[in-house]
């Protein structure tokens, strides 16, 4: 996937501990220029620490960080944040409360280019005309866009966003995250998001790096990550999934719900996403509906197979399944992992 791209950031074997807590442990990540990537992980997985190390707000105990091919941190080097050309958008926006919008946005720009860059970036984020407002006079969404404009104004090589949407309610989040991703793509900057929200990560990014216990366990395109997770934990973290034991022989794994191609051999675990499961009403089907959760735009139906195993299916809002209905199950897609 790296053909034609240069590396914007390269982190090698970075570790960082706080007292007894290991925040990063052999953290490795390559970020290609121009990409929007997300570091995704549960709380405590070290993602914010990784971001702060790359931005220069913290030093690694071991390992190295390069930005644009220049080493900014290793055993001998530490380039302070003000000389890294990394734009940062903070979770709480961190707008300077005593400066108006224009002076916030122009803060990091040399005087000669200030007027021009303030105008350009405010236009990019759609806040032209609010130059003289003070931060407390803006709505939460506007404050966030000022924070993004301020980070973009000095034309940094990379812009980093720490949980930028966590202050927004769920209804707004999808829309705003799409808008922000669009702004960043228009600006053409490399962008690194940090989030614990998998839908946000999958929907906004070119690449997603999944972190667990201080290291990157998988970095891939969103769809690859979703369908081909490296292990059961990543699979479960990215979305609903059911798992079965199976046995693979000659490029094929046999499960209670059918046979699937695989290049593994022997005992395996098989992951099935609810979206890959189809149900059709049938009196002599192989399964019985146990529970149905109706969400409006879709429904999640849990069925019990003849051998007692459970499987979930995510279907459109119709037909109406009821507990006790007999159904036939067919699975379109499954992924096998080596059993441990």
């Amino acid at each position: 996937m790296s053909n034609g791209y240069t590396l914007a950031i390269r982190a090698r074997q970075v570790s960082r501990r706080f007292g007894d807590v290991v925040a990063l442990d052999d953290f490795n990540l390559d970020i290609h220029s121009g990409n929007v990537i997300t570091i995704l992980g549960p709380s405590g997985s070290g993602k914010t620490t990784a971001l702060r190390l790359m931005a220069g707000f913290d030093r690694p105990d071991q390992g190295s960080v390069e930005i644009g091919g220049v080493t900014v941190a290793d055993d001998e080097t530490f380039i302070p944040p003000e000389r890294r050309r990394v734009g940062m958008v903070f979770q709480d926006y961190a707008l300077f409360p005593h400066l108006n919008v224009a002076r916030n946005v122009g803060y990091g720009v040399p005087k000669t280019a200030r007027r021009r860059r303030v105008g350009e970036t405010l236009e990019l984020v759609g806040l032209t005309g609010k130059e003289s407002r003070m931060p407390h006079e803006l709505s939460g969404g506007e404050q966030q866009r000022v924070a993004i404009a301020r980070a973009l104004a000095p034309a940094p090589s990379v812009i980093m966003l720490d949980e930028p949407f966590s202050n927004l309610d769920a209804a707004l989040r999808t829309r705003v995250s799409a808008e922000v991703a669009e702004i960043l793509r228009t600006a053409g900057t490399t962008a690194v998001f940090v989030t614990h929200d998998q839908e946000e990560a999958l929907s906004t990014s070119d690449f997603v790096a999944v972190m667990r216990a201080g290291r990157v366990v998988q970095a891939a395109r969103p769809s690859d990550l979703y369908h081909e997770p490296v292990d059961e934990w990543v699979a479960g973290f990215l979305g609903d999934a059911d798992f079965f034991n199976g046995h693979a022989v000659a490029g094929k794994v046999t499960t209670p719900v059918g046979d699937f191609p695989t290049d593994l051999d022997g005992s395996v675990r098989v992951m099935i996403r609810p979206e890959s499961v189809l149900l059709s009403p049938s009196d002599n089907g192989g399964a019985v509906v146990r529970q149905r959760q109706f969400f409006g735009h879709d429904q999640l139906v849990t069925v019990v197979l003849r051998n007692g195993l459970q499987l979930r299916a995510r279907l459109g809002p119709t037909p109406n399944f009821e507990a006790g209905d007999a159904v036939t199950v067919s699975v379109e897609r499954a992924t096998a992992f080596p059993a441990n």
């Binding site: 706080f18 702060r52 931005a55 220069g56 707000f57 913290d58 030093r59 302070p80 944040p81 003000e82 000389r83 890294r84 990394v86 734009g87 940062m88 903070f90 979770q91 709480d92 961190a94 707008l95 300077f96 409360p97 005593h98 803060y107 990091g108 924070a147 301020r150 980070a151 000095p154």
Partner: protein
């Protein structure tokens, strides 16, 4: 109006600051320079006791020491118990009953804090005795006059009246935090009102009362003005007498060292008690229904509150005004204290500016680079603030005489001592301001290309300015009414308002003393009360 330990947030905060850059050496150096003056006199005093233990106590016999210890302990115990009772009663009456004007009463019982204890003692002297206000009033109706208030009972009354408000202030939030459901549950189980009070209510108040009592004990132990004017022998009065009466400072130094060691125990206990009080913080789900007081209990409650307010606030102020007016009729004017006022204002102003400047690096270090070492630094700054200022002042005096004689009897030494003693006031204010700013704003500035110093200048200081100003004002107003250290360290003839009040009172010039006292209360204590009133009543 001073608090002995850092506010809760500071001490219990275990979470390190998210900014993990190593603290620059320059910052540490500046913070250490600010802290050394706080540490040196205390260390010197303690060392002088340790040394005296094997050689020379300056002629202080063990019997004399025991005598002083007992007389001080009796006063501390009596005042502490009295203030605990008074403060709990006023707090309970003004928060949990249906008495009229509870908010007003609550303010009135904290207003005695505008009267420094030596001004209170002056008022006591001015109301009693041969020409006192009460004596004149009693004689006017044909009754015999009052004897001069002096000795144990006078000191006990003065220190109780002008300290119980601290207990009130600590007890009110504790009472508000109590869940009324517990009391109702007890009552529902058949417990009487009194039994509920002693088995349910008071145990919940215990951490706050313990904290308040330790605070008051420390103030009584440290008090110099009231006990010396009212002629009750405690450590501080003995130290000053030793210091004035002899060329050799060894006995005074030894007694100060002992006093500091006793006080350190109280400071330590007070700080621990605060940590414990923290644990009991609960959040009641609904406000309690007020206790209905009817008939005799209601009248008793009003009578009690009125007596306290009259005794601690109205009578002293009326006495001072009466004496001041007497002086005016004899040709005294307010103008006679203007030189003292100017000296007080200028020396306090300088102290406030230097203290704020000293507090800035220390605040940055303790907030942005919190760790074990910075916490230790913070405790040291608090100790000079909490310990008896007479003893700390003597420590400064002797250190100056021995090591930097050029500083002896200079305003500069006085200011250094003020900075060392009141640094925590400016520090706390700056720390609160810094916490509100939050590290991400500074990081945002760093990320946008400003270095550490540019960020301090462009972002942190402009945002911190109001907090620094508030801290500076606090220091200014507190220094104005500081007496014991000023008395020891001032250059000869350098009379501030506080010194004038004290010396005029000791020489029985009540008319002069009262004018100075009213001016001091008006320009220092009242603004100080207003400045911190919002926090006090929160």
């Amino acid at each position: 109006m001073t608090v002995v330990a850092p506010p809760r947030g500071t001490r219990t905060e275990r979470k390190p600051s998210p900014v993990r850059g190593r603290a620059p050496v320059a910052l540490w150096a500046m913070a250490l320079v600010a802290v050394v003056p706080a540490f040196a006199p205390i260390a010197y005093l303690v060392w002088s006791v340790v040394r005296a233990g094997v050689t020379d106590t300056g002629g202080i016999s063990a019997g004399r020491l025991l005598e002083l210890f007992l007389s001080t302990a009796v006063l501390v115990a009596a005042v502490t118990i009295t203030t605990a009772v008074l403060g709990t009663a006023t707090a309970w009456l003004t928060t949990r009953t249906d008495l009229g004007g509870r908010g007003l009463w609550s303010t009135l019982v904290t207003l005695p804090l505008v009267i420094p204890s030596y001004v209170g003692a002056l008022a006591m002297l001015g109301t009693s005795g041969n020409s006192g206000l009460m004596t004149e009033a009693l004689r006017a109706v044909g009754l015999p006059g009052l004897p001069v208030f002096a000795g144990f009972w006078a000191a006990w009354g003065a220190l109780s009246l002008w300290n119980f408000s601290f207990v009130h202030l600590l007890a009110v939030p504790a009472i508000r935090r109590m869940d009324p459901a517990l009391e109702e549950a007890a009552r529902g189980l058949g417990s009487s009102r009194w039994r509920t009070m002693f088995t349910i209510v008071l145990p919940q108040l215990r951490p706050a009362l313990l904290s308040g009592s330790l605070l008051v004990s420390l103030y009584v132990l440290s008090d110099f003005g009231a006990v010396s004017l009212l002629r009750y022998e405690t450590f501080t009065r003995a130290i000053y007498a030793q210091f004035r009466g002899r060329l050799d400072v060894t006995p005074a130094l030894f007694l100060s060292g002992v006093l500091v060691i006793v006080a350190l125990v109280l400071v330590w206990a007070e700080q621990r008690s605060r940590g414990r009080a923290n644990l009991s913080a609960a959040h009641p789900t609904r406000p309690p229904s007020p206790v209905h007081l009817r008939g005799i209990p209601r009248l008793t409650a009003y009578g009690f509150l009125s007596t306290i307010v009259i005794g601690a606030l109205i009578l002293p102020l009326v006495t001072l005004v009466w004496w001041a007016a007497r002086g005016m009729s004899l040709g005294n004017t307010v103008g006679s204290v203007i030189p003292e006022l100017i000296r007080s204002v200028s020396v306090s102003g300088m102290a406030a500016v230097v203290t704020v400047l000293a507090a800035i690096p220390l605040a940055i270090l303790t907030v942005r680079h919190a760790g074990r070492a910075t916490r230790a630094l913070e405790s040291i700054t608090w100790s000079a603030y909490s310990l008896p200022h007479l003893a700390v002042g003597l420590g400064f005096l002797v250190l100056a005489l021995r090591f930097v004689p050029a500083l002896y009897q200079t305003v500069l030494l006085l200011i250094i001592a003020y900075v060392a003693m009141f640094l925590p006031q400016a520090l706390t204010s700056a720390q609160i301001g810094l916490r509100q700013i939050g590290p991400s704003i500074e990081e945002a500035s760093r990320g946008l290309g400003s270095g550490a110093l540019a960020t301090l200048r462009r972002i942190t200081l402009p945002l911190l300015w109001p907090s620094l100003l508030a801290g500076g004002a606090l220091v200014f107003l507190t220094v104005m009414k500081e007496l014991p250290a000023t008395l020891l360290l001032r250059p000869t003839g350098f009379e501030t308002l506080a010194v004038r009040i004290w010396s005029a009172s000791s020489e029985l010039f009540y008319t002069q003393a009262s004018v100075a006292a009213l001016v001091l209360v008006a320009v220092s204590a009242v603004p100080l009360y207003v400045l911190v009133a919002r926090d006090l009543h929160d």
